[in-house]
């Protein structure tokens, strides 16, 4: 299992054959066969690269620039203010709270997603009747627009008509005085958004892990069975190590999606109650767009970047390590 794209096969041998035959001579002066094709490659790549640089690279640097300025939504001029915005943010208790919430939100939900995703992938691995329908139902949360899925949860968590509370009452699991307000009590609100995030990302993690499991050659399973490896031994010694690279892919995407997510929090809690579910992304939105303070908003959102770079470094290190083998 090699990480990182396989390098394109070098072409010279074939190209020589092709160029040789029309010329009919073996003693042609050596023209570098890659020249025109490299030029064509660049021409084909250029539009996409220019677009991405213009619409990802440029705004990214603009975000950095705004974060050291006093830009607001209304103003047309802006001034360089150095690191003042960052200083202010670092003294802002709401920011620290958002950072802590974002980390808790990401770590807890991704731990659950990886464990549950592995279990679900194992349950889906073998063929069984009705597998297509089960897969369809399981994939629904990932494919439905998340803003709308979150609205569905908003109704499930409704303070008065919550179906969870109704069922708890009906099954006598909830005592008479027990009526949780899911999105209105700080700890429950965090648990609720974690649950929605798990609900949303579990299908993606599951299908990625499934893809990894089906890429393990059958002989390895057979050999393990012949050697008498039991279920747990097989799982921890063979299955998990072999799908580790692809599980890391699933995990890293999950971390990127969750750590930068704004939608679940925006729809369900708007960061409340008392900022107990405020995360960096939502705080940046409320400050930068709704509050009109572009500079501070940009500075807040840029705190996401070091975390994502760390993710990238982990990813590339693993990529490199497995590429060598």
């Amino acid at each position: 299992m090699s990480v990182a794209a396989p390098r394109p096969r070098p072409l010279p041998a074939r190209r020589e054959r092709k160029q040789r035959s029309p010329a009919g001579s073996l003693s042609r002066p050596r023209i570098h066969p890659f020249d025109d094709e490299a030029w064509l490659g660049r021409m084909l790549l250029a539009p996409a690269v220019i677009y991405i640089v213009a619409l990802v690279g440029f705004p990214f640097f603009l975000a950095i620039f705004y974060s050291v300025s006093d830009a607001t939504v209304g103003s047309t001029t802006l001034h360089f203010v150095g690191l003042r915005n960052y200083e202010r943010i670092l003294q802002d208790p709401t920011f620290w709270r958002s950072l802590r919430n974002a980390v808790v939100f990401t770590v807890v939900s991704q731990a659950l997603v990886v464990v549950l995703g592995k279990i679900l992938a194992m349950a889906l691995y073998a063929d069984f009747p009705g597998k297509w329908a089960v897969r369809f139902l399981i994939l629904l949360p990932w494919v439905a627009p998340i803003s709308l899925g979150s609205i569905g949860w908003l109704w499930i968590f409704d303070p008065v008509y919550s179906v969870i509370n109704w069922s708890g009452r009906a099954l006598h699991l909830f005592g008479p005085g027990f009526w949780p307000i899911w999105l209105g009590q700080p700890d429950l609100a965090m648990a609720s958004i974690v649950m929605v995030d798990v609900w949303r990302l579990l299908p993606l993690a599951t299908v990625i892990i499934l893809a990894g499991m089906s890429s393990i050659p059958q002989d390895i399973h057979d050999a393990a069975a012949v050697d008498g490896a039991g279920f747990w031994r097989h799982l921890f010694r063979i299955n998990l190590p072999l799908i580790m690279p692809i599980m890391l892919v699933a995990l890293l995407f999950g971390i990127v999606f969750t750590f930068t997510d704004l939608i679940v929090v925006y729809v369900l809690t708007r960061g409340g109650p008392f900022d107990s579910t405020q995360v960096i992304a939502s705080y940046a939105y409320f400050t930068g767009v709704q509050g009109g303070d572009l500079a501070t908003g940009a500075a807040i959102s840029l705190f996401l970047f070091p975390a994502l770079v760390a993710v990238a470094i982990v990813f590339l290190t693993i990529a490199k390590r497995t590429e060598v083998t």
């Binding site: 990480v3 490659g41 705004p59 705004y66 439905a144 892919v249 908003g297």
Partner: protein, 284 residues
């Protein structure tokens, strides 16, 4: 190992398997069942806590859907979403198909690096870019215009689809275009005349994913668009149908369901390719 205990273990395992899957399906699909039943319930039925909420306590009604279609801009939001989706898809195809081909066939080491660089743009998500974009969009006069979305959305569809097409082209045998080139076509003409026609499956995948990514996008649309007539579905439903403390639950759930289910059906047919788009190059 003798017969009977083995079969007992087997049926126990099978029972456990079914139970496990049932639990996962219940968790993952329940909200959609909930949307469906809420859509067809009358408001009085919904807010009567003595009724069993899993069943209809009053006759089903189409009133919620009537409100959705005739008293909101829902139809308009769907049209807006389709309009943006089609334009973004065209831009994405024009940019990503040639780039994917170049990365798969024409570039050596630097192309490999560029491929990884394109992949890394996933790490600069909309959450970092929406603030500078809100100003850029205002500066170029596209505030509250669907064109702002047409301009910005390819910034996340092009990297993903380039990666997807690269994987697709790598799976096509080189002999196809090499035979054409031996017949005298240039590499570029071989690409246009021979490779593109056999790539329709890959391009269809690009079309499906671009459309669904556009449909799901929320952050940019929320930031750029300010009037109801210009909303896309994913922003219009949660912002317009939730007014202060008044929730039109039946209509909200109907909107969620109407948008989600068709997308889910189409998507389900292509999910393996979607996974490949995430993992190609990461795991072979």
């Amino acid at each position: 190992m003798s017969g009977p205990p083995f079969s007992v273990i087997r049926s126990l395992r099978r029972g456990g398997h079914v139970l496990l899957l049932a639990a996962f399906v219940a968790f993952l699909a329940f909200p959609f069942y909930w949307m469906a039943i809420t859509t067809f319930k009358s408001t009085r039925d919904l807010i009567d806590t003595t009724h069993n909420p899993f069943l209809f306590g009053a006759p089903p009604t189409l009133n919620n859907l009537r409100v959705l279609f005739f008293q909101t801009d829902f139809g308009r939001w769907i049209m807006n979403t389709i309009e943006v989706g089609v334009l973004v898809t065209l831009i994405t195809l024009v940019l990503a198909v040639p780039a994917g081909y170049a990365l798969a066939r024409l570039s050596g080491r630097w192309g490999h690096r560029l491929g990884i660089a394109i992949f890394l743009t996933y790490l600069i998500p909309p959450t970092i870019l929406f603030i500078p974009f809100s100003r850029i969009v205002a500066d170029v006069g596209l505030q509250d215009s669907l064109w702002s979305l047409v301009l910005v959305y390819p910034s996340f569809t092009v990297p993903f689809c380039t990666w997807l097409m690269m994987g697709f082209f790598k799976s096509i045998p080189r002999d196809i275009e090499e035979a054409a080139m031996i017949d005298g076509l240039s590499r570029f003409r071989a690409f246009v005349k021979v490779v593109v026609p056999v790539s329709s499956a890959g391009m269809l995948t690009v079309v499906i994913f671009t459309l669904t990514l556009v449909m799901q996008e929320f952050v940019y649309a929320l930031t750029f668009i300010t009037t109801s007539a210009h909303y896309t579905v994913s922003v219009g439903v949660p912002t317009f149908l939730v007014r202060g403390d008044v929730y039109f639950w039946g209509s909200l759930m109907g909107a969620c369901l109407i948008v989600s289910i068709p997308v889910a059906i189409v998507y389900n047919l292509f999910v393996d390719r979607f996974v490949a788009g995430f993992t190609v190059g990461a795991v072979k």
